[in-house]
């Protein structure tokens, strides 16, 4: 079920080189960028939208946008930061415009049955290695099942490193509300884990 991505993977080409080549129109370099970042984009979109099809649509949309605009990308922030913000913005636009996923809940079991949670790096030296992995999976499952008003701020804050102010601007809610919702979301996770 779980896979450990480790040394077996071929060495990654530096993203700066890939970006420079992509700017010159090298399609192979851009495809390598897709390979390096597609899972990250998909996961971010899935956590925000909780819908596999929408997450796939967003992933494609994000990479088409990147493909069309990469010539003008100055690289003032890292590519990962840039693509992360682009993904989150696209997801928030989707939530605002379609609000298709609003109120839709993924059953707690669905995520383990249909979606594989993969760990990019996981400290093998951790004593309770298996226990920790299972706990992380449980936390993610609970997180995905939270209501949008709790889930989105919590994911942006804890998984995507957004500041409270940025979350407030993105979601259109006051900073106080954002802080309260994140705190409540953490409490909810804690409570559900104890059950």
């Amino acid at each position: 079920m779980e896979k450990q991505i480790n040394d077996r993977k071929p060495r990654k080409i530096d993203e700066k080189i890939l970006i420079a080549r992509s700017k010159k129109g090298d399609k192979a370099a851009f495809e390598e960028l897709v390979r390096q970042f597609s899972k990250y984009v998909y996961t971010t979109a899935f956590f925000v939208l909780r819908d596999a099809h929408e997450a796939e649509d967003v992933s494609q949309e994000v990479f088409v946008k990147v493909y069309l605009s990469i010539k003008g990308f100055r690289g003032l922030s890292s590519f990962k930061t840039w693509i992360r913000k682009l993904t989150v913005n696209t997801c928030i636009d989707k939530l605002r415009l379609h609000s298709k996923t609003k109120g839709k809940k993924v059953s707690l079991d669905k995520i383990t049955e249909e979606y594989e949670i993969v760990f990019n790096k996981f400290d093998q030296s951790l004593e309770n290695h298996y226990f920790n992995k299972e706990m992380v999976k449980d936390v993610l499952k609970i997180m995905v099942n939270l209501d949008e008003s709790y889930r989105v701020p919590l994911i942006l804050r804890d998984l995507q490193d957004y500041s409270y102010r940025e979350i407030s601007e993105l979601t259109g809610k006051p900073i106080g509300t954002v802080k309260t919702n994140i705190h409540r979301a953490r409490k909810m996770i804690e409570k559900k884990l104890k059950k």
Partner: protein, 114 residues
């Protein structure tokens, strides 16, 4: 709550494996990019694109996101500037005083010689 934070920290390195081969689908989609796709680069995207390509905007964002740290840094710089200014003033004042003393002692010497 600490344990939750610990698991959330680990969760940052986890990702959902897509049910389909998403890489191939994206690559296929890119190979079919046409003029119509430029609609995706709408006002919202262009606004985001301009902002993320602006040093000034990124710096202002950094300051706005770390207001406390920048306030502390600014206070520190002002304090150091005042300290240096104060020290210069003290030393230059002492120098003038020494100069006056030298002048005074030399005039006394002259008087004694006479």
């Amino acid at each position: 709550m600490n344990s939750i934070n610990k698991y959330i920290k680990i969760a940052r390195d986890a990702f959902i494996k897509p049910p389909v081969d998403i890489e191939d689908r994206i690559i296929d989609r890119i190979s079919r990019v046409n003029k119509g796709d430029s609609n995706l680069l709408d006002e919202s995207f262009m606004d985001f694109f301009k902002k993320t390509n602006s040093r000034l905007y990124l710096l202002s964002e950094k300051i706005r996101n770390n207001q406390g740290a920048f306030a502390a840094l600014a206070t520190g710089i002002i304090f150091i500037a005042f300290f240096i200014f104060f020290m210069i003033k003290i030393y230059s004042g002492r120098g003038e005083k020494d100069g006056n003393n030298n002048e005074l002692s030399s005039s006394e010497n002259e008087a004694q010689e006479k």
